[in-house]
């Protein structure tokens, strides 16, 4: 049983990362569509995105903090390795996270008028594009087994591990996926049919980009990430996973086409989950391949047990709270009172 414990914690981290992609990822995607707001309803599009994000983005953001904290508590050597080798993309990602969150809030509370608000809006939306790319690059670098103890020059140790075509293609995939999620979710956030249609078109476009980026990543993976590539093509679960992912993808596009937006939301979520878990399964049991696996990087069992207990107890508070948050803001229309 104690052998299984690290796996359970790794599973919890992966679950949190998945929820972060589904929730926080879509918030970044919202920023992407803020940048590409076009046409006669551009301002209405921006307002819809802002209204959808405002009450929930901070709660969605905490999933990332949760991932980091449980990672450094339960798998300290893996966290230390990532932090040393991927310092540059992680630091840039932090800048993106800070600017996205701060600019979004400043835009809402800045009484400085249209010009100033537009400037903050630009910072918010550009940061929303850059941050997912960096997050994808980090994942791509890990999958390509290049996060190893640094040696040689600065470029060899701290740049080459992540500045690769494969890692960049995973960055593009993350961006496309988050934009796809956001566009699909936004079709359900409005009662205005033409506004919903704007985001339906964007969702279809982003859906095509997801497919293109996924194929690109797959093409680069042969050389760059042989272990993940092998897992994704030859393991027993590989064919069912791909079939399910393809089915979910096809259903989402069909549902978008037929304006079945609730079904599309479920489908887009399923696509994201399957992409993420395909990577995780292919890389299992490695946290940071080629050398740090779940068992060897794990903290002593007492630490893992206590963290799991904390996660379970915390979940008892957290899940009803999150349910309440989303029920308040994503179901009931606001009562017609002022102030």
């Amino acid at each position: 049983m104690s052998l299984l414990l690290p796996d359970v914690v790794a599973l919890a981290i992966m679950l949190a990362l998945t929820i972060y992609a589904l929730m926080g990822g879509a918030d970044f995607g919202g920023g992407v569509w803020d940048l590409f707001a076009r046409g006669p309803r551009a301002e209405a599009q921006r307002r819809l995105i802002a209204d959808a994000l405002t009450p929930i983005w901070e709660a969605n953001h905490v999933w990332l903090v949760f991932v980091i904290v449980v990672l450094f508590t339960c798998f300290p050597p893996a966290f230390a390795r990532l932090a040393i080798v991927l310092h540059v993309p992680l630091a840039l990602m932090l800048v993106g996270i800070v600017l996205r969150g701060a600019a979004f809030t400043f835009r809402a509370y800045d009484p400085g008028g249209d010009v100033v608000q537009r400037r903050w809006g630009r910072v918010f939306s550009v940061a929303s594009v850059v941050t997912p790319v960096l997050l994808g690059i980090v994942v791509g670098a890990v999958a390509s087994e290049r996060v190893v103890p640094p040696s040689g020059s600065f470029a060899d140790g701290y740049i080459r591990p992540w500045l690769t075509p494969f890692a960049l293609s995973v960055g593009a995939l993350a961006l496309a996926l988050f934009a796809f999620l956001a566009a699909v979710y936004l079709t359900l956030e409005t009662t205005d049919a033409s506004l919903a249609d704007d985001f339906r078109r964007r969702a279809l476009l982003a859906g095509a980009a997801v497919a293109a980026a996924a194929l690109l990543a797959l093409a680069f993976s042969g050389e760059a990430a042989p272990r993940v590539r092998a897992g994704l093509t030859t393991d027993a679960w590989a064919v069912p996973l791909h079939l399910n992912a393809l089915a979910a993808y096809a259903v989402t596009l069909w549902a978008l086409w037929r304006r079945r937006f609730t079904l599309a939301r479920l489908g887009a979520g399923a696509v994201t989950v399957l992409v993420l878990w395909g990577w995780a399964l292919a890389q299992y049991p490695y946290l940071v391949p080629p050398d740090l696996d779940i068992a060897s990087a794990a903290a002593p069992p007492i630490v893992l047990k206590l963290v799991l207990i904390a996660v379970l107890c915390g979940g008892l508070i957290l899940i009803p709270s999150l349910w309440y948050l989303f029920r308040v803001f994503k179901r009931a229309p606001a009562r017609e009172t002022t102030g």
Partner: protein, 439 residues
């Protein structure tokens, strides 16, 4: 460690320390406001529910706007810190992560709860009942304080490490519960929590006192002043007591830090308390201080003849930078004393059944003390962090052995500094606009 270190390593270590220090100094302002401001807005809202006084509702809404801006910047700057622990000190996290990650995990949940219910409090007023809305605010206030306590527990562990054994340089027998219950945890958490209420209470009271000087009749500002003082005054009066507890703990657990705080170079019985002064580390003496005979022995050990260990007791390599610690400590204690005196004056005024707003000298004093609590918090963190050097974990791991091997750390330090200067300026400007809209 006999060989003289490579100069580029020295500058990298300095850049890493500067970046961490600057990130902490920036974040602590938002963390403190994130503890104090929710309590103020909940008190105002509670008052409105009880009396239906519209001014109180207006107040709750305005403070909530301030809380929204401060919380957003606090959330992202806190995320930066959680990453920086690894980006700058990976060898610290590789060793300490398992021992002391537990309170960070709990803090994660507290932060989560705070973010969820702040969203509900800020944007859900028209969607839920007034009671549910007040309860959401109360959850924000409680979880904000809880998350601060969990993080301070980690810092306390760095000062008084517990919950593991070192065998031949390797960490064994990890006990995360014992690490959380480390001996510094209680005094440090108490001191920081009270500090957060005192700093926020006095900052808000000071702002409204200043506005009352210009506009003495405003019921809105009188209201705000009362609620802010209700939080700030008890905290400022309790803080010297909790400071005494902290100082006596530091005297026993970190005598070198205490010696630096007090500018005490020689070990002596009946050590004097030095007020002000400039410690000269080269000459090993503190000049220009007002000395109160036996004062330090009395305060640190509650015995005028107690022996206080001086910096001379340990090798020069184990000294923290003396003057920054001593000066920061003087600043913290000085500001805390002024705040306690102002709090006492508020109590006297109230006992004489007069409104605080009726006394212009008191309004002036409160106005001048607006930033005092926040400055004291910054100075206090300087004392505890610089005072622990050269250790990152007291007596276990040196800061220089914890830093990342990545060179060129001056680049991220410069970047984060510029980013935070910009964010700080914008935040201040936005808050000033919010305040200006009230008068």
């Amino acid at each position: 460690m006999g060989a003289s270190p490579d100069p580029s390593f020295v500058s990298d270590l300095l850049a890493a320390r500067a970046q961490m220090g600057f990130s902490l100094a920036f974040h602590i302002v938002f963390a403190v406001a994130g503890i104090g401001l929710p309590l103020l807005m909940v008190l105002a809202e509670w008052h409105w529910l009880a009396t239906r006084d519209e001014a109180a509702l207006d107040l709750a809404k305005r403070w909530a706007k301030g809380a929204a801006i401060l919380f957003a910047v606090g959330a992202v700057s806190g995320t930066v810190l959680s990453f920086e622990l690894g980006l700058l000190w990976p060898r610290f996290m590789a060793g300490a992560g398992a021992i002391i990650g537990m309170p960070f995990s709990l803090e994660g949940f507290a932060f989560f709860t705070e973010a969820i219910f702040l969203g509900i409090f800020l944007y859900g007023r028209d969607r839920i009942s007034p009671r549910a809305h007040l309860a959401a605010g109360a959850v924000v206030a409680v979880s904000g304080a809880a998350s601060a306590i969990f993080v301070v527990i980690v810092n306390a562990w760095m000062n008084a490490p517990a919950g593991f054994r070192l065998v031949g340089g390797r960490i064994t027998d990890i006990d995360p519960i014992a690490a959380m219950l480390n001996p510094a945890a209680f005094s440090q958490c108490l001191h920081m929590t009270i500090a957060a209420y005192a700093a926020t209470g006095f900052a808000v009271a000071g702002i409204h006192a200043g506005l009352l000087l210009r506009n003495p009749g405003s019921a809105f500002h009188r209201h705000a002043l009362r609620i802010a003082l209700l939080v700030g005054v008890p905290a400022a009066l309790l803080q010297p007591l909790s400071g005494d507890l902290s100082a006596r703990f530091v005297a026993r657990a970190q005598p070198v830090k205490l010696a630096a705080m007090e500018g005490q170079f020689a070990t002596e019985a009946g050590a004097p308390l030095r007020i002000g002064g400039w410690p000269d580390a080269a000459a090993r003496t503190t000049r220009f201080a007002i000395e109160i005979p036996d004062g330090l022995s009395l305060l640190a050990y509650h015995d005028p003849h107690a022996v206080v260990r001086g910096l001379d007791d340990v090798p020069r390599d184990d000294w923290p930078p003396v003057w920054p610690v001593h000066v920061s400590f003087q600043v913290m204690v000085g500001l805390g004393t002024l705040m306690a005196l102002a709090a006492a004056a508020v109590i006297v005024q109230t006992l004489r059944r007069r409104a605080v707003a009726a006394s212009r000298p008191l309004l002036w004093a409160l106005t001048l003390l607006t930033p005092a609590g926040f400055l004291a918090v910054e100075a206090g963190w300087m004392v505890t962090e610089i005072g622990r050097q050269p250790w990152i974990i007291q007596g276990v791991l040196r800061t220089r052995d914890a830093v990342t091997p990545m060179p060129g750390l001056v680049v991220p330090f410069t970047g984060i500094t510029l980013l935070y200067v910009l964010l700080g300026a914008v935040t201040l400007w936005l808050l000033a606009r919010q305040v200006a809209a009230t008068s």
